[in-house]
């Protein structure tokens, strides 16, 4: 078994796994940044191997390892990336104002990245993924450098997007976070998806009180079988 899962509209699917499990690689394959050997692969109605630009137009993508341009302000970042999605002028300005309200970008908008705190940087990175109102959100460890307020804002935003009918693939190794927002989860270990299902199903399958215990039990079973 390799990796086999789907994320439906109006659903948050949490891809859970330790560092090196293959979460980032999976997300990169989904946006067509790396070539996948999968038999079937569809993201927002298109195959990223055949039409990567179509997929990228419909997807909001952010990973914790991403960076920003040191000499650009937060607003310049959003304008720069917005143009790739055809956003310009008042429409773009209005969208930036919305994201400011949603994520509390504040000072980060008009400050150059080199003068930003790590939390400010992460807010801009995450806001960038929401900029073009994507149908699908692929978020990889998005709360890595966020403070408690920014983290709360992001999780609320993700739930809001879900309510609006977006499909969200949320990759993390912070299991309580997944427990809070995910409808279904997938346990990824050494490049293999060892479980997919809802959180109650995971707890029942591994007879565990929490999602964290369920995940640890799943990994043990894989190791014992090997």
């Amino acid at each position: 078994m390799g990796i086999d899962f789907e994320v439906r509209e109006g659903e948050v699917f949490a891809l859970l796994g330790p560092n090196g499990a293959g979460k980032t690689t999976t997300l990169r394959a989904l946006v067509g940044l790396i070539r996948s050997q999968a038999e079937e692969l569809y993201v927002a109605g298109a195959d990223p191997r055949k039409d990567p630009l179509m997929v990228r137009r419909r997807v909001g993508y952010a990973t914790g390892g991403m960076g920003l341009y040191e000499r650009l302000t937060g607003r310049e970042h959003l304008v720069f990336f917005g143009r790739f999605y055809g956003l310009t002028g008042p429409e773009l300005a209005e969208r930036i104002a919305e994201l400011d309200r949603a994520f509390g970008l504040g000072e980060a908008l008009d400050r150059q990245v080199q003068a930003m705190s790590s939390g400010m940087r992460q807010k801009i990175l995450v806001a960038r993924a929401f900029l073009h109102r994507p149908q699908v959100l692929l978020l990889d460890e998005p709360t890595a450098a966020l403070d408690v307020f920014a983290r709360r804002a992001l999780l609320d935003r993700v739930l809001e997007e879900k309510r609006e009918g977006k499909a969200v693939l949320y990759s993390t190794h912070v299991l309580p976070e997944a427990e809070e927002i995910a409808d279904r989860v997938g346990f990824l270990y050494r490049g293999r998806l060892v479980f997919t299902g809802s959180i109650p199903e995971a707890k029942a399958r591994y007879r565990a009180p929490t999602l964290e215990h369920a995940f640890i039990q799943a990994v043990r079973e894989v190791e014992d079988a090997a």
């Binding site: 990169r28 790396i34 990228r56 990973t63 341009y69 650009l72 143009r83 150059q112």
Partner: protein, 386 residues
Amino acid sequence: MPPSRNVFWKELLSFLRDRRTLFSQVLLPFFLMPFFMFAPGYLVERLSQQTAAEVQKVAVKGIPAELEEALSKAGLSVFPDPDPARAVREGRADAGLVYDGRRFVLYLKLAQEGMRAEVLRGRIRAVLEDYKTRLVERRLAQAGLDPKVLEPFSVEVADVSPPKAQGTSVFAYLVPMMLLMFILSGAMPVVTDATAGEKERGTLEVLLATPTTPREILLGKAAAAMVAALLSTASGIGGLLLGGAVAARYAESPELEAFSFRLGAEALWATFVTGVLFAAFAVGVMIFLGMLARSYREAQTYMGFLYMALVLPAVLVGMASSFLEPTPAYYLIPVAGPMMLLDAVFRAKADLLAYLFAWGSTLLYAALALGLAAWAFSREEIVFKN
């Protein structure tokens, strides 16, 4: 806005906001070029003049009184010594002169004193030559001969190079190398930042995840790097022209005036086109190397070798300037071709074939280099190598 233009403006904005790079790559060449090109010549001349005006000590043995008097009149302090060579070695004299009745031997610390000893040698030789001439004239007169028999004709040298070629005579062979060096140094910070820097910061992944092709991203980055390279080169040329104009205007001697640097409109155009083509080639190679690197520092190491690649062609151009008559095939050599073309342009020797071969081949190499860069941009094992 097309994606490539969007990337171009972003790269350019980052470059223009980087004050240190802007200062070192754009402002510094303008002010340093005149200094590097004219200061050494000016300094050497001033030192020579100073040394020539100094009263230097000359230990002598066995020289005629008339010559001793001539040396004194030339501003040298002459004193007799039983061993002039030893006097020079021990620092009691700057030079020693011994006459054994048949020949003069001049003792100097040539290896130790360098230019200073050379100037002193020139001063003493001039006095000896003058003394020799007087002796010959006297002996000819005693034999009833006119001293003019020794000079049946005179020799004059006149430079008939076209005026366009005469403005750059002293260091024309150096200028092409320096111009290409400016292109490398101007593009390098932008390319390093736009490739290895982006990989290291994790911004390249963000950029590649946008609905844009790698080719469009590459185009924007390459265009920005070329602008930076040409800005740096224009600044260097500006500095050269300014320094040349100042040297020509205020030169106190013909030697210094020879450092003047002038470029006509035709040469400026040829320099611009050659610069653009070479910049495209250099930027393509640099982007390829930058993409191969895993970090900013590694990219700088790779690109440092490109400076070395300029040295060999520079030697070739130096030889071509004086001894080698380049055939059109020489203009096909990467890097050397444009360098030799610029040299030929400055000397008003470039013909249609030279332009055709140098520009055509550089265009081809630029296309190949940019193709290689595009290939590197599309390879996931290169983009995500860290």
